[in-house]
Subunit: 233 residues, 2 copies
Amino acid sequence: MTVTDNMLTCNCEGCELKSLFFENVSTLEIESICSRKVEREYQKGEIIIREGAEIHEFIYLKSGLVKLYHSGSNSREQIICFALPLDFVSLLSIFSEKRYIYSVAALEDSITCNIKMDEIISIATGNGRFALSLIEKVNKATDRIILDFLEVKQKRLYGRIAYILLYFAKSIYKSNSFDLPVSRKEIAEYIGMTVENVIRSLSDLRKDGIIKIFGPKIEIVDEGKLARIAELS
Amino acid sequence: MTVTDNMLTCNCEGCELKSLFFENVSTLEIESICSRKVEREYQKGEIIIREGAEIHEFIYLKSGLVKLYHSGSNSREQIICFALPLDFVSLLSIFSEKRYIYSVAALEDSITCNIKMDEIISIATGNGRFALSLIEKVNKATDRIILDFLEVKQKRLYGRIAYILLYFAKSIYKSNSFDLPVSRKEIAEYIGMTVENVIRSLSDLRKDGIIKIFGPKIEIVDEGKLARIAELS
DNA sequence: CGCGGCTTTGATGTTCATCAAGTAAAGTGG
DNA sequence: CCACTTTACTTGATGAACATCAAAGCCGCG
């Protein structure tokens, strides 16, 4: 990194992707990718990937916040996970399927960096270290998803709400006061419950003085208590 | 394959791993692996991998049937998935963690083939094609797990039981009559319900004439009806 | 202004966990 | 080999957790 930074002629100098992802890629290869990559902007609410579409590009999130979701058989949508900048949006199925098995939508205005799959594959083919770091990243992401599923599954409604609030506070906004980027319905789609009960739990937390609610704005008042609820279900 | 088969001097000739996994590996490399691999036998019930143990080997299942499970914080075990021969036991966390985040136990007498991680990594480093096929396989496996989680989550108890019975019949035993390889408790741990209710659902299916139960032996009588229940929850 | 989407609260019924108790099967030690 | 313990399985009764249905308030938007 330190060496190659100033050698780049493309406009990716400030991009953290280099240091995270392309550790093992030569400057030449990075330049080649940078010159052919495409950046795309999406507004809050826009769909970035549609389930069933063919996979042509490797996509990662440069800025913003997105949700990965799956359209269940009975038309109900299920949110698989949220992704932050530098997360791969291309997670599941990227290397094992021809078509996306999930959709991605922007929860906040977002920018993606898109690279043709061909190029990723060609680099990986010629560069085992790069391929291994790919495995590692993809692995980490899916591990996280599976562990979170297991974690949420063993909690009850009240605990799940506490859990997701702490998740937004800690992992996403790094603050105990933030605007919820998702609707009540989307929370329900993530933790697998109904909207009404999500709202009821939020109200209960408010009545108990653990959080404050102003529309979409959430303020965690008693973090300790919230953590205990998230822990003990 | 056809070319390399008779050139091997090690005892892996009959092993399907070659054709699945080592498509892109030179005969020399395969020989090197074969000569240093270790096969291990486990009896029904034995633990193959213990959660928290350090990861030293890449393990795949040669014969038998195993379960991957996670010990939840509240001491309740959760079954993540089942694995058949030629499935990788080393799935999650293999390339992203130092220690196992799940345990593996044999549900039937099983044989594993173990290869030092160092060797896998060294081959992958020098051989991008091999690394890519690794990603593909690992990806496929985790995709399957996540999709199944989503699938099961949107069903109710009765539908979940129907679903898992069909899974055993179709994917594992390829027959409508089989011995359940898992206890009622383990079914409960997989679908996230209590033992009592698992038993109740099984009894209901029996009373409705959809299945027959003789101890651990299950016979699916009306597959169509069972499929409809699994579908419609 | 009125329409539709998101949110909120209440009432009601279903699904499921928990508790309790009993049977069957299988291993254990004298 | 038999009493004894343990483990898996099974059924019923009860209550808690949650979904569903209904209705009303809020807000942005055409």
